[in-house]
Amino acid sequence: MNRSVQGAGILFILILAVMCPWFMGKFHIYLLTEIMIYSMLGLSYYLLLGHTGLLSLGHAAYFGIGGYTTALFLHGMPGVPVSLTLLFGAISGLLAGFLIGSMVLRLTKIYFSFATLAFGQMVWAIAWKWRGLTGGDDGLTGWSAREFVFPFLGRFSLTHVTFLYYFVLLITVITIGVCWCFTRTPLGNTLAAVKSNPTRTNFLGININAAKLMLFGFTGLIAGLSGSLFILFKKMVAPNFLDMFMSFDVVVMSVIGGYSSFLGPIVGSFVYVYMVEYISAVTDRWQLIMGVFFMLLVLFYPKGLVGMFKDVLKRRIFLKRKVCS
């Protein structure tokens, strides 16, 4: 694919996304908002797994920490503007990324994965047990009366579905752009080198643990921001926002879309959310069907849907060339 085709594709999707609320029902707008939030979470996960090759099993921790931080400010400090609480959520994700990263990054391979799982569960246990702060299994809620206040634009209620859709769309587009740029900075390139050959990277005089720690901070920031948006969207926060099943959902979405491609988590979250929505409307056993679908994909297309699409495209071009010659 050349650049102009790519650019046209991106522009088309953007225009489509802006126009969605004009011809789609509230139900779909609601789902699309959820998909965009999951996309951001999945994208931060792509940077870890697909770009750097770090299999983290506790990624929901940053998501939940961002969510709880925002919820605590919304819940306990009515004076703080809503947009500022989002910023606090993102920063808390960043700090959590640095903190957990500094402890798990001395490990590699499966030990690393299990350490991240352990820290994820630890964060979940805190959210579950510390009733005084987090509300325990009831979670926190009760801020739906809060409003976004923008200079010049006016006030918007948090319960306004279309407003929230546009707000999340804006942040998602910015996040995707920032993540894309990140992979093209020297640091992003270094992380790709770490995935390709960590020993050689080290023997080029690069402190790979520092690079990974910075990555942890960055993915924590993005995940924290998406968690903050998620609780605005759900109008509550509960411990199941950061339990291990949430972490596994992120992995499943990434694998469905293709964990090693940038677009993978975005496509993956789209397919995942819609599949769950429609299958669970038909049967309570939706997890069984999702499980079979997931296994088939892993067995026959480990590169995911984006990988499948790329292969099909390559084959088409190959066939065309054959016809020409």
């Binding site: 020297p186 640091l187 270094t190 080198a193 050689r200 023997f203 080029l204 005089g205």
Partner: protein
């Protein structure tokens, strides 16, 4: 001349096995120093000690009067030492151009920078192209490194090492597995790209060693048997016995029969 690298009573034990035993070695500034010895003598282990892959059980290593044993590899590399590997160790899944660029970015200490795009760093691009032309891999710059021929991968391995522009270059069997023609080519290349630098080279091909080296150290069972000029080493009785013997006999064994 002053020593650029000094090993003082260095030992390395793995469990009860003394792989390196009380090695004293001085590498002089600007010289080409070859490290030879039979298989298992500890040549690669010595390299791994010099670059921080292992830290010595006893003894000290100084690089330009700074103690480096026990430092992390990346810190040692940053002081001005670079190494190649006996088994090819390149970024196989990345393009040849990207391979060299990784090293150039590292040399400029840009590796952790995230406020600028990699493509906007002009000096990095220029330097990468320069290194590529020096190792004669420019025509292959867009190929994946893993798809290169073996000899070209050896050249790339060398390129990754010299792209760091180190003062001290450590080459671990740069000619391993090459044909005689390719070996001649890589020796010419090594001579060319290490001009003005200090070189320590491990090599089994004696033609290469005696052709290239100013001084030679012979390692056997973890100790230095002898250090000297190629002529001295050729004449050394102890060295003949353990290593060179069969190579420098007046008559090959099969003629005596």
């Amino acid at each position: 001349m002053t020593p650029i690298l000094r090993l003082n009573g260095v030992s390395k034990h793995f469990g009860g096995i003394r792989v390196i035993d009380d090695v004293n070695l001085e590498i002089l500034e600007g010289e080409r120093h070859a490290l030879i010895g039979p298989n298992g003598a500890g040549k690669s282990t010595l390299f791994n000690l010099m670059t921080g892959f292992y830290s010595p059980t006893r003894g000290s290593i100084h690089f330009k009067e700074k103690r480096i044993d026990g430092l992390a590899p990346y810190k040692i590399i940053r002081l001005g030492i670079a190494r190649s590997f006996q088994i090819i160790n390149i970024f196989k899944g990345m393009q040849v151009y990207e391979n060299i660029r990784n090293a150039v970015v590292a040399k400029h200490h840009y590796s952790l920078m995230f406020d600028r795009m990699l493509g906007s760093l002009n000096e990095v691009r220029k330097e990468t192209e320069y290194i590529l032309s020096r190792i004669h891999l420019k025509p292959f710059q867009n190929e994946l490194a893993g798809t290169l021929g073996y000899g070209q991968q050896r050249a790339l391995e060398l390129g990754l090492t010299i792209a760091l522009d180190p003062e001290l270059v450590l080459l671990d069997e740069p000619g391993a597995g090459l044909t005689p023609d390719e070996t001649r080519e890589i020796v010419r290349l090594i001579r060319e790209v290490t001009a003005g630098k200090t070189l320590v080279i491990v090599e089994h091909d004696m033609d290469v060693v005696f052709d290239l080296a100013d001084r030679i150290s012979v390692l056997n069972r973890g100790t230095i048997l002898a250090t000297g000029t190629p002529e001295e080493i050729k004449r050394n009785e102890a060295v003949k016995e353990v290593y060179l013997g069969s190579l420098f006999e007046e008559k090959p064994l099969w003629q005596e029969r």
